[in-house]
């Protein structure tokens, strides 16, 4: 911990502390809408960090992370729906199932040498397969979706995630911050350096005696588990789940945008990306509404355009550039 802290330059520590203090006290001043936007930012920073561990550090391109989020959410929601088992227990089941799927995908991919876009397609295939399966299963609510009743008399049961926006705000903040700390710790650990070695040159890593298969398996297990936790949070926040949303490839794409736009393989990248993209989406909704353009799709066209512009101008993401602008360049990513 202390080593991680001292790796941040002095000015960076001040900025970081001010930002954390601002975010912790922000709910006092903000209305419900801004709190809901920040909850989404925390969610995307958290699951983005999970994806970042796998892609940014271990170099494995997954385009099916919605699978883990969807499984986590569905398992916890089903346990609550049928047996009244609270999400604080259900999250363990959700994580276990998601990690099992992650292990199967990882084993198939890494053992049989499926790499790059082939691996990406393998992850998409599993997510799509699961989506169609959930569409056709009766006990999960099928394509019609699964709904969790919101009972006002249980609104105080914060341990069952039955609370208001503030509960999800602070939980989301804790998850996003915890994920950043975990990633920073992993990045300095033995496995973190093994990931980088495998990412940069797997042949060379193998010749140094690094067990690349083991390193990649650890990455996918951590990543899928974290993403499943994010899925549980989202399921209990929205109180509804649909296979066509939860497992859809567009959900997977949403998860990976923040880390790529923010800066892949950096600790603050997913956070910066989430703070750019979520307000961008929300801002576009507000703007199109203000100018009276209520044609569906307008917002998304600008969103797509922004993605293309950012990836053309800042292929390494915004954070490395922002870091230079803020004069924090001596920080090790």
């Amino acid at each position: 911990m202390r080593a991680m802290w001292s790796a941040i330059p002095r000015r960076g520590r001040v900025i970081l502390l001010v930002l954390v203090a601002l975010l912790l006290t922000a709910p006092l001043a903000l209305d419900r809408y801004f709190i809901s936007v920040l909850i989404l930012i925390f969610y995307f920073a958290f699951v983005g960090q999970a994806w970042n561990i796998m892609m940014g550090f271990a170099g494995q391109l997954s385009l099916g992370h919605a699978l883990y989020a969807g499984l986590g959410g569905y398992v916890a929601a089903l346990l609550w729906f049928y047996f009244g088992i609270g999400p604080w227990l259900g999250v363990f089941a959700g994580v276990a199932i998601a990690a099992l799927f992650g292990a199967v995908i990882g084993w198939l991919g890494f053992r049989f040498g499926i790499e790059g876009v082939y691996f990406a397609l393998l992850t998409i295939a599993f997510a799509e397969f699961t989506r169609i399966a959930f569409d056709n299963m009766a006990f999960t609510g099928g394509a019609g979706g699964l709904f969790l009743l919101y009972d006002a008399s249980r609104a105080h049961e914060w341990w069952n995630l039955r609370g208001g926006p503030l509960l999800f705000y602070y939980l989301g903040f804790a998850l996003a911050a915890g994920a950043a700390l975990l990633t920073a710790w992993l990045a300095r650990s033995r496995i973190g350096f093994q990931w980088l070695a495998v990412r940069e040159d797997q042949e060379a890593a193998l010749s140094l005696g690094i067990d690349a298969f083991r390193a990649k398996m650890i990455a996918i297990l951590i990543s899928s588990s974290m993403t499943a936790i994010g899925g549980v949070l989202l399921a209990f926040y929205y109180n509804s789940l649909f296979p066509a949303q939860a497992f859809d490839i567009s959900r997977s794409i949403e998860i990976i945008l923040a880390p790529i736009i923010g800066g892949l393989g950096t600790i603050f990248g997913p956070i910066v990306g989430a703070f750019i993209l979520t307000p961008l989406g929300e801002g576009l909704i507000a703007l199109t509404a203000k100018f009276g353009i209520d044609v569906p799709g307008t917002k998304a066209v600008f969103y797509g355009l922004t993605l293309m512009v950012i990836i053309t101008l800042r292929p390494d993401g915004v954070w490395p550039w922002l870091k230079r602008m803020l004069g924090l360049d001596e920080t090790k990513p």
């Binding site: 295939a125 799709g297 797509g304 355009l305």
Partner: protein, 289 residues
């Protein structure tokens, strides 16, 4: 089970599969040469479907005729897109290419949504409901025409790559990029040509696709995944593989729709894909790298 019915379903699958194959051929050509996955592939197919629809309702043009101007226009679009934008991303990491093309795909789908709305637009050809009766079987006339169209376009592309100097030069880039550059081939120009050809394929496939499905923005993502799946199953860089993969997926979708439920048809495609990736990662017709 009545054998004739099953045979009928299989033939429908084969006819559909040939159009799928042509669409996948476009992806395969781009993927095999430029080494980039066109994640906006299905989106382009749907644009071609809308173009065919518009040409049909305004000028009464048959898809088999409007195929030609659409393919030509798509060639131009592809050429310019590669020359202006995509060439900068060649050789860069996969996730950067992915974001660029996903951004493009988002723009296309939602642009279509803004212009045409979410409702599907059917192209009601005068012969839409005609069919050939062969013994106990009935085969849709429109699909037969579409399949023949797909075969002709594919054959033209094969001939181009096999017998023309430009086609040979493009194959050289695919086989050995450094070697191609050393003997003085203008790689960027050839890449732009290739992207144009790939989009011409998907444009033609989209024109023929109106005989199979009604134009709708919602189809785009499924088509991209479909083309991607077919190319991997058939074998990367193998043009025949794309057609074989298309046939296989067409038949498996038709059988799954018939015996189970139409909503479950792509489950089998993805199961097939996972099996191929694990058992024969180079694809059915691909050479081992």
């Amino acid at each position: 089970m009545n054998l004739a019915i099953i045979l009928n379903v299989v033939i429908q699958g084969v006819l559909t599969g040939l159009v799928y194959g042509l669409m996948a051929l476009g992806l395969s050509v781009i993927f095999g040469v430029v080494r980039m996955v066109n994640f906006a592939h299905g989106e382009f197919a749907v644009v071609a479907m809308y173009a065919t629809y518009l040409l049909f309702v305004t000028f009464g043009l048959d898809p088999l005729i409007s195929l030609l101007p659409i393919a030509a226009a798509f060639f131009l679009i592809g050429f310019l897109l590669q020359a202006a934008l995509v060439n900068r991303f060649v050789g860069r990491s996969e996730h950067e290419q992915f974001i660029l093309l996903v951004g493009l795909a988002i723009i296309i789908v939602n642009g279509l949504l803004m212009i045409f709305g979410p409702d599907a637009r059917p192209t009601n050809l005068p012969y839409s409901f005609d069919s050939y009766a062969i013994g106990p079987m009935f085969i849709d006339k429109a699909r037969v025409y579409a399949a023949i169209g797909a075969l002709v376009v594919s054959a033209a592309l094969f001939a181009f790559f096999r017998y023309t100097a430009t086609g040979t030069a493009i194959r050289a880039c695919a086989d050995n990029l450094t070697g191609a550059a050393v003997v003085g081939l203008n790689v960027k120009h050839l890449y732009a040509l290739t992207f144009g050809l790939g989009l011409a394929c998907v444009g033609a496939a989209g024109a023929l696709m109106v005989t199979i499905a009604d134009a709708s923005p919602l189809l785009a993502q499924a088509f991209t995944l479909l083309a991607f799946t077919i190319v991997i199953i058939g074998g990367l860089g193998s043009m025949a593989g794309a057609l074989v993969g298309g046939l296989l997926i067409g038949v498996s979708e038709a059988l799954a729709s018939f015996f189970l439920a139409p909503s479950m048809k792509s489950m089998f495609s993805f199961a097939l894909l996972v099996a191929v990736l694990v058992l024969r990662p180079q694809g059915l017709m691909g050479r081992r790298a």
